[in-house]
């Protein structure tokens, strides 16, 4: 094995010459005590040798060819390899079905992170519902609606109410962040609507995002 060059700060420089000697089964594990020169990286890439960066190690100054989207430091082929492996297994497994085996899986790039994606998509967006109730005024309308809302674990952040002769119109802004465990928007909507029906009120529930999109720039 070709020895590392020692540098003053105690880091080892991995040069083009070192690459082949360091590679084990096509992979070099780069730890925090190593600095890989750009030329060495390029050489490794040409040879099909993969550089795996251990926790805490930082590739040297220039950017590493990789996946800019994921922010990954190394060439991001782990995910690709996983997908290919799965595809090969699938194809071999269903070889009796000639048409089907060429079909890509539902989503080659999908990981089970749909929930995360939705969360990221909504990050920074308020998670509130607007509840509008209208109907003929009678004792207990406000109580019925507010208790239905609080039964869902949600918090009323604002109320506006107008009563014209015998008719009322109430608007609630409800914070959904504290929605009871296991309950989703649809169930919240259904339970408030049901409470409204009990007191003869017409109920409209919509997510705040739609109002924000339409009325705020």
């Amino acid at each position: 094995m070709i020895p590392f060059q020692e540098v003053a700060v105690g880091k080892r420089i991995v040069t083009e010459k070192d690459v082949e000697g360091l590679a084990s089964r096509g992979v070099i594990e780069v730890d925090s005590g190593m600095i890989v020169t750009p030329l060495a990286r390029e050489f490794a890439m040409r040879q099909g040798i993969r550089l795996v960066y251990a926790e805490g190690s930082v590739p040297s100054a220039e950017s590493v060819p990789g996946d800019p989207g994921s922010g990954s430091r190394g060439p991001n082929d782990d995910r690709l390899r996983k997908v290919i492996a799965e595809e090969v297994v699938r194809a071999l497994g269903s070889s009796s079905d000639a048409g089907r085996r060429f079909i890509p899986s539902y989503s080659p790039l999908a990981e089970d992170d749909a929930a995360q994606k939705i969360a990221a998509h909504r990050a920074g967006e308020p998670n509130r519902a607007i509840v509008v109730a209208t109907g003929r005024n009678q004792p207990g309308v406000a109580a019925a609606l507010t208790s239905a809302i609080s039964d869902c674990g949600t918090d009323i952040q604002d109320i506006s109410q107008t009563i014209v002769s015998n008719f009322f119109s109430m608007i609630f802004v409800v914070n959904l962040d504290t929605l009871k465990g296991g309950m989703n928007f649809k169930e919240f909507k259904a339970s408030v609507e049901q409470a409204g029906r009990g007191v003869g009120a017409e109920i409209m529930v919509m997510h705040e995002a739609i109002l924000k999109a339409m009325h705020r720039i």
């Binding site: 080659p108 790039l109 649809k186 409209m204 995002a209």
Partner: protein, 458 residues
Amino acid sequence: MIYRPEEISETIRMVEAEHLDIRTVTMGICMLGCPGKDPETVYKYIYNMVTSNAGRLVDCAAEVENMYGIPIVNKRVSVTPMALVLEGAPRESFLAAAQALERAAVECRIDYIAGFSALVQKGATSGSAMLMRSLPEVLAATTRVCCSVNLASSRTGINLEATAIMGEVMSETAHRTKHGAGCARLVVFANAPEDNPFIAGAMHGVGEPDVVINVGVSGPGVVLAAIERQKRLESSLMDCQTLSEIIKRTAFKITRAGELIGREVVARLGPPVRFGVLDLSLAPTPAEGDSVAAIIEAMGIERVGAHGTTAALYLLTEAVKKGGVMASSSVGGLSGAFIPISEDAGMVDATRLGIMTLDKLEAMTAICSVGMDMVALPGDTPPSTIAAIIADELAIGVINHKTTACRLIPIPGAKPGDTVDLGGLLGELIVMDTKKCDVSTFIARGGRIPAPMNSLRN
């Protein structure tokens, strides 16, 4: 309050009373990469691609609909133009592909699936020619598959040879389906957009990623109500800038709602589905008040089709585009105002009264978003005349660098002025009169009308 009660009530009114809706959420699916050309492989590939990608579309759309309280009227699918997928395949494979699309649409609970299409603006490959010739059979054998052919573009001119073929194809399709209804699923284009979400002309272009969601936002009812409200508020006559401003503001709000909903559907579907475009088209429905004609009439034209209609349509279409472009950076597709004869109650009335004629409609298509849409013709219209109507429409698109299209329905046995009800979304058709002159020699010339020039534009 965070939102003024008026803002909240405006939103509710738009949805409840003024038909604000997301007209369509259309999933475009890339079909390139079919591993074989034999009917069985083609069938399996297409069926699996559609069902694996669009299987959850209807459910995801329903969830989003419920969350925001805005209805998503149609959930649909478009695919890569089938002529590209099936180039070199035998005739049976074309029929297998159509059947696979039909069955996949049923499986996914989708009412229409589009993209049984060919692009022949300069010339037809043998696959494209086969696809065009298979259309009458395909349309007769299916009920959900929508077909389109791009016959012309501003870069290539008009493929008159293919136009003549399509005249024959439309005529034959009409005779093979009840009331010619198969023709309602067949569109011919000049400058066809590759990201249009609106059926029947939707397709998933070759420059598109694997799977996209394109959203068609609509709301002629909302625009109409906004104009009517302003009319009640203003004591003097509104000038055209004010009108334009009202339409722009309304289009802005509709578009913002559309983008929010489209992106939410995409987030729920997860990768590899991406958000494509928003198509801001005012698309009328037969429902009362949901009419583009009514907007034009609200501007002070007694009946759509009267003199002044083209100018009013220009005001409307431009304002819709400007408001929409301000609201979103993902505007695409057709974007404008649809003027289908049968799907718009005001258009039907004006046609019945003889005010809306084929000639006026043709003039309006120089401005609207798409063209001669849902026009019923007498059953004895010769194929060469149908091709000539198409050629005129293509010429308007090619020379104006815009999309134009024809969805013509020659109704067997029908005479000018007859009424035929196709039911549902398609609405009521009034058969329009055509000129009884022979144009077959011109159409038979074939070849290609050369592309227009960009200078000397007078």
